[in-house]
């Protein structure tokens, strides 16, 4: 049974005065309005650290209470920084299986009320116990991956700077972006070091934000064509590859198979650029270019909005901000809005028919890939 996105709302990302529940209610209310206030029988919520960072729990009843959805069923879904994509996938599976008719899918994170070192520690809880014991953080392990990538492929490290420059330029047109101001390569390359070789402007920010979609049975311009997820060894030292995420490759392969599509039919993508080097790894893992080739794509503009394969026309995590549990759903909102012709100044010059979203949980340990497009998609789920 096909499932499509009938309403898609992104909240403003940044330092917000509201708490997590208020952030979610705001986008949920707008999505229900856009969907014509038709009855919703499924309420699913994604968040990574609602308790530790957002200081709230029991999300579904709290939101049902505020959104007058006590008649629905629901659960909270967690897949670390991919929670927003995971909750979308869960809703698709429930609808495709015929267990619900219309779902309100919410995802959000409240991060800015805690000190940076505490946020870093909470996010690092996603890592392997041995990595936490060594004092590793997400940026630290991303830095190690970035170094391996540069050494293995001999790629120009300036490609990482080019990623940030491109996404910050795109974010200028995104009214919800935390960083709507452009930066130069020189500014990126001279920003302060966070985890060498990664600098501040290579790293996504600590952000508050939320997104909402209404999913319902049937087809439309943003029909779910395929979904797939993948897992990998928890610790970096147990991975067979250090310059590619196996979980991403597995998720992409499963999504393409589910959709009966190949990468060549995809017109654009929203990729998980929590760190600038990830954009390169992601582009390769999704199959859009070969191993080690992505640096050239970002350096020569191939991934810009008017390039041969647009990546993150919304500004990505680097431009939009990265409210961890919300980012996966924010990406899907952007893909759906491109397909639905609702992107305003972010609209791609060549109107796309099929878009891909990729969301990474943990340090490449749990990845969700979604394909949306016009048509009569049959989702195996």
């Amino acid at each position: 049974m096909p499932v499509h996105v009938s309403a898609a709302v992104a909240g403003r990302v940044g330092r917000r005065p509201e708490g997590l529940i208020d952030l979610l209610v705001e986008v949920g209310d707008r999505a229900l309005d856009l969907a014509g206030r038709k009855p919703v029988d499924l309420l699913l919520v994604g968040a990574m650290a609602a308790g530790a960072l957002g200081e709230t729990e029991n999300l579904v009843p709290q939101l049902a209470d505020r959104l007058n959805l006590e008649g629905a069923s629901g659960v909270r879904v967690d897949a670390a920084s991919a929670s927003g994509a995971a909750v979308f996938h869960t809703a698709v599976q429930e609808l495709a299986a015929g267990r619900a008719v219309r779902a309100l899918v919410l995802a959000g994170e409240k991060m800015t009320s805690q000190p940076v070192a505490e946020v870093t520690r909470v996010l690092a809880r996603s890592l392997a116990p041995s990595e936490q014991a060594a004092g590793a953080s997400m940026p630290a392990l991303a830095a190690l991956v970035a170094q391996r990538y540069t050494s293995r492929f001999g790629s120009d490290p300036a490609a990482f700077d080019a990623v940030t420059v491109q996404f910050r330029r795109s974010a200028q047109g995104n009214p919800n972006a935390q960083f709507p101001t452009p930066v130069s390569r020189e500014e990126v390359a001279s920003s302060r070091v966070i985890a060498s070789p990664l600098r501040l402007l290579h790293c996504s920010a600590i952000s508050d934000g939320a997104a909402a979609v209404v999913l319902e049975r049937g087809t439309g311009p943003a029909t779910v064509l395929g979904i797939g997820q993948g897992l990998d060894a928890l610790a970096l030292v147990d991975r067979t590859e250090l310059t590619s995420f196996k979980a991403s490759r597995t998720a992409a392969q499963r999504a393409y198979e589910d959709a009966h599509l190949t990468r060549k039919e995809v017109d654009f993508a929203e990729l998980h650029d929590a760190f600038a080097p990830f954009a390169l790894v992601d582009l390769e893992d999704m199959g859009f270019c070969g191993a080690g080739e992505a640096a050239a794509w970002f350096l020569d503009g191939s991934t810009g909005p008017d390039g041969r394969f647009p990546v993150n026309p919304s500004g990505g995590l680097l431009g939009r901000g990265h409210p961890v549990g919300a980012s996966g759903l924010l990406q899907l909102v952007e893909v759906a809005r491109q397909l639905r012709g609702e992107s305003g100044s972010l609209a791609l010059p060549r109107p796309p028919k099929i878009g891909l979203a990729q969301s990474i949980g943990g340090l490449g340990t749990h990845v969700f890939v979604t394909l949306l497009g016009a048509g009569s998609g049959e989702v195996a789920g």
Partner: protein
């Protein structure tokens, strides 16, 4: 200073992979035929990073190195001295549940800036 008797690792008698001790079955093949053995406590630096922001409870700058010892055993180790150079060979020791880069047998320099 190093581990005089070598580093304790797990060896899988089914797939022959070797890895740092951890509870449970072999992470590669799922076999429970795993036995302890020792390898030389020297490793090559695959990557190394210096953190200016560390998780709460860790002083900064905090330095980490991704190492490869013999038989493909990979180790995430804390470097309390200078950041070891990529490709250099270092000694490793275990201190409670953390591995440490304990000295630098080959010249040490900061990695090239990006």
């Amino acid at each position: 200073m190093s581990e005089p008797n070598g580093l304790l690792v797990n060896g899988c008698t089914n797939c022959h992979s070797r890895y740092l001790p951890r509870p449970g079955r072999c992470p590669r093949c799922g076999s429970d035929r795993v036995s302890p053995l020792r390898i030389p406590a020297r490793a090559t630096v695959l990557a190394a990073t210096e953190l200016s922001v560390a998780p709460a409870g860790f002083a900064t700058p905090h330095r980490l190195a991704l190492l490869e010892a013999s038989d493909g055993v990979r180790i995430l180790a804390v470097a309390r001295g200078p950041l070891p150079a990529l490709g250099s060979v270092v000694n490793v020791m275990r201190d409670a549940d953390v591995y440490l880069v304990v000295d630098e047998g080959t010249p040490v320099a900061s990695p090239k800036p990006p």
